[in-house]
């Protein structure tokens, strides 16, 4: 029982909570922007997988971690462009397109992985990984230094992205118009705003962020690629957007909290504590449903989310 309690505030657990939260935060921020423009992209899980592979294979073969990140991001944007063509130009049902994107992305990534690494031995190919970016002085602070100031540079970037994104969405003409597109595309169209263009941009930003999330999983965390590398993180990111009621502050908090839950359950497993960790794994989704109920009256869900826009339809 002591283990169960001690793990709650263990420094290692807290540090890994922030690490685990990073890809969740990246993907959720991207998805939030996409949804603000009215597009529900259910394909993030697949996008993350493809990007993780893209980063991994380039990092390994070209022997450059930075090139790895760039190609992971490129793969994410490419896949989201495919989504954009489907849902914004051809106006396919968004749920169907998103699910198809997942199947396609995961299948494609695994196929390419096998094509590049045909050997099936027990030895998994490994790439380099980024080192932790320890911030001078600050990282020497006991406990806090290890938890907060010895993370990857991408973790800092993800958190730094939050105020930047908030300002863009709430203080710029572009942000105002992006949010408007998700609420009433017809109104925007009648004001001369290019609805399709906006949705392309929003999806590409979502792809970029999911791409970073994928890169984080392969070339920051593990140096490995495997089919289940995303392990449901794309779905949790979707849940976080709902849990966070489409607001950046709450999405940040939600990502950290869900990251913490995951880190906690991992450490319990590692300690061999006999607690059903599946329950903790399911908790994010249960909490999301609870948040939906609580936010029912004050939901910030974009009014036109998931509905294809046709000019002049009755």
């Amino acid at each position: 029982m002591n283990d169960v309690l001690e793990a709650l505030i263990n420094v290692g657990v807290l540090a890994s909570a922030i690490r685990i939260a990073t890809p969740l935060l990246l993907a959720a921020l991207g998805e939030m922007v996409t949804e603000r423009a009215g597009i529900l992209n259910l394909g993030i899980e697949g996008t993350i997988t493809v990007s993780a592979f893209g980063s991994f294979v380039v990092a390994d073969k070209a022997d450059s971690l930075w090139l790895g990140v760039v190609s992971g991001v490129g793969a994410g944007i490419l896949l989201s462009l495919l989504m954009a063509v489907l849902v914004s130009s051809i106006k396919v049902e968004q749920v169907v397109a998103g699910l198809a994107l997942n199947l396609f992305g995961i299948g494609m990534a695994f196929y390419l992985f096998r094509a590049v690494y045909p050997q099936t031995g027990s030895e998994m190919p490994r790439s380099d990984t980024f080192d932790h970016a320890e911030i001078p002085l600050l990282s020497d602070i006991p406990a806090v230094g290890e938890v907060v100031f010895s993370q990857h540079w991408l973790t800092y970037a993800a958190i730094g992205c939050c105020p930047l994104l908030w300002w863009t969405l709430n203080r710029t003409q572009f942000g105002l118009e992006l949010r408007s597109v998700g609420n009433n595309p017809a109104a925007c169209d009648m004001r001369g705003i290019n609805v399709t263009g906006m949705q392309y941009l929003a999806l590409m930003f979502g792809g970029l962020m999911a791409g970073l999330a994928g890169a984080f999983l392969s070339v920051f965390l593990s140096g490995l690629f495997f089919v289940d590398v995303a392990a449901g993180r794309g779905w949790i990111a979707l849940a976080i957007v709902i849990f966070g009621n489409w607001r950046i502050g709450r999405i940040l908090a939600g990502s950290l909290f869900f990251g913490y839950l995951d880190a906690y359950q991992l450490s319990l497993q590692a300690r061999g504590v006999d607690v059903p960790h599946q329950l903790l794994l399911a908790l994010p989704f249960a909490l999301t449903i609870a948040a939906l109920v609580v936010n029912r009256r004050r939901s910030h869900e974009p009014l036109h989310l998931g509905v294809p826009y046709f000019r002049g339809e009755r």
Binding site: R171, Q173, E177, N183, A187, R191, G192
Partner: protein, 513 residues
């Protein structure tokens, strides 16, 4: 008033044709709109007015012909081009981002700095409001405003962009008589200050009241353009429908029978508080039409929903033939003879992708008449469908056809045929002729009177005052969820009802004193 000279032509259509699958919406339209004048486009529903407006605003591109501005052809592929050229438009259905504030709605689509300069925008908007005497809190979410206010937001949006031509599509549909007066006064003032106004309407008296020029459209073609001062309402009617019509059908007085619907102290709360019902009481008898007047959004939707069983009351009683029906489901209410025609026939009345015959029995599929040993009885359904199509003059290739392809008038006839089939004891109709052309309107009204004469009790909720004054035995007026006045048809005047609709209770003379 004299006609304008040729040099004052601002906006012009030359031989414009626009086709949609199966229809020619605009057929070789040529017309000139002169600077600083109010130009009405008059026509029935489906005459092509809104399509023409959309062509002027770049929503659609003409298949043939050109639109010219200041004598130069302009090629528009999107409203962006129209806005850049100085054309503004307020559509019939508002295009507002409801969760956002008035200010934000106005700023959307303005090409400004990267950073939104809300302060400068607020200042300019304030000046516009002052100039035209509009009172509005710029920080209120647009969704919280009344419909009349929302319309001013739309107008402000167009003016803010500095338009030279302002097109308004059926702007009076959502306004009280008083609101219409105010709008028209403002429009006149705008025209006198040099703004050119194109006003789309199907209401003759509006044309006579406000316009300098009028173009009548029928079936996608221009019938004639004239100076309003040179035509009469009778001329316009003839041009509009191609024949003489008197929409006011002959409604004989009847003596009412027993009490059928008895509603007392009805309360229905809504989440936002808008459109709720407060202590509503009303009675409808056999062989009687009770008309409910009111500007939309004053509780009519809640009244309809609670009477047909789509929502439940928070207080009060609903008695039908002295039996409490409050706990009955919509299906149960149908069973005891309560039929209803919803305002939104496309979303609430019909399954657009079903066959016509299927829509004709929607909700009756369990009745023994259409069911045999658990299966649908196709023979009796087909027979009923054939009868209905003939009886109600539904213009359709066959009852097996998909419903979506039909016009609004025919859609409404399907709903009417279905609801009247069981000879209902109580009929609740909501906006039965909204959006219908004159022929269909006449038909629907005649059918309602026939039902009354058969013995049905009818509750007619409508926003069309002419309709209510024509058909109703009594008229009650709703404002802010209450019945604020009730009057016998013989004593009803537009003025009196208009005052009630605006929320002034009592008799007009007293209220003003």
């Amino acid at each position: 008033m004299n006609g304008p000279g040729a040099d004052s032509v601002l906006l012009q259509a030359r031989g414009v044709t626009k086709r949609f699958p199966g229809v020619v919406a605009n057929d070789d339209i040529t017309l000139e709109v002169h600077r600083a004048r109010v130009h009405c486009l008059l026509g029935e529903n489906g005459a092509g007015k809104s399509t023409l407006a959309d062509l002027f605003y770049g929503v659609h591109e003409p298949d043939e012909g050109v639109v010219e501005l200041r004598g130069e052809p302009i090629h528009m592929v999107s409203p962006r081009d129209a806005i850049a050229a100085g054309i503004g438009m307020v559509r019939q259905h508002f295009e507002l981002v409801t969760p956002m504030s008035v200010l934000e709605n106005v700023v959307i689509g303005t090409r400004g700095e990267a950073k939104v300069d809300l302060r400068a925008a607020r200042e300019r908007l304030g000046e516009l409001c002052d100039l035209y005497g509009v009172e509005m809190d710029l920080d209120t979410p647009v969704g919280d405003l009344a419909v009349g206010q929302q319309q001013w937001v739309e107008i402000l949006k167009a003016l803010y962009l500095g338009c030279e031509v302002l097109i308004l599509d059926e702007p009076t549909a959502v306004l009280t008589p008083e609101g219409i007066e105010r709008l028209f006064a403002t429009l006149r003032r705008m025209a006198s200050e040099g703004l050119t106004i194109v006003l789309i309407t199907h209401k003759l008296h509006e044309v006579m009241e406000i316009s300098d020029d009028v173009t009548v459209l029928r079936r996608g073609r221009v019938v004639r353009t004239s100076l309003t001062s040179e035509v009469t309402m009778a001329d316009l009617t003839r041009m509009m429908v191609g024949r003489d019509v008197d929409l006011a059908i002959d409604v004989a007085e009847t003596s009412r029978g027993d009490l059928v619907l008895d509603v007392s102290g009805l309360d229905v709360a809504t989440e936002s508080g808008r459109g709720s019902l407060k202590q509503v009481s009303l009675q409808v008898h056999e062989r009687e039409i009770l008309g409910i007047a009111g500007v939309s959004g004053n509780g009519q939707d809640a009244l309809f929903d609670v009477l047909v069983g789509m929502s439940s009351a928070d207080g009060g009683r609903i008695l039908v033939d002295a039996k409490d029906v409050a706990e009955l489901s919509p299906a149960d209410r149908l069973e005891i003879g309560i039929a209803s025609v919803p305002a939104d026939r496309i979303h609430q009345g019909l399954m657009m992708d079903f066959r016509i015959s299927e829509n004709l029995i929607l909700g009756r599929q369990r009745s023994g008449r259409y069911r045999r040993r658990g299966w649908l009885n196709q023979t009796s359904i087909a027979k009923f469908a054939d009868e209905s199509v003939t009886d109600f003059e539904i213009a359709a290739p066959s009852p097996a056809h998909v419903t979506r392809v039909l016009s609004g008038g025919n859609l409404q006839k399907i709903v009417m045929a279905r609801e009247l089939a069981g000879q209902p004891r109580l009929l609740i109709v909501h906006q039965p002729t909204r959006g219908l052309d004159i022929g269909a309107t006449e038909y629907v009204r005649r059918r309602l009177v026939e039902e009354r004469d058969r013995g049905a009790a009818i509750l007619l909720i409508s926003e069309d005052l002419d309709e209510l004054l024509n058909l109703s035995s009594r008229i009650a007026v709703m404002f802010d969820g209450r019945i604020v006045g009730e009057v016998d048809r013989r004593d009803a005047t537009i003025d009196r009802i208009g005052m009630w609709m605006a929320g002034v209770s009592g008799v007009p003379g007293e209220a003003l004193a």
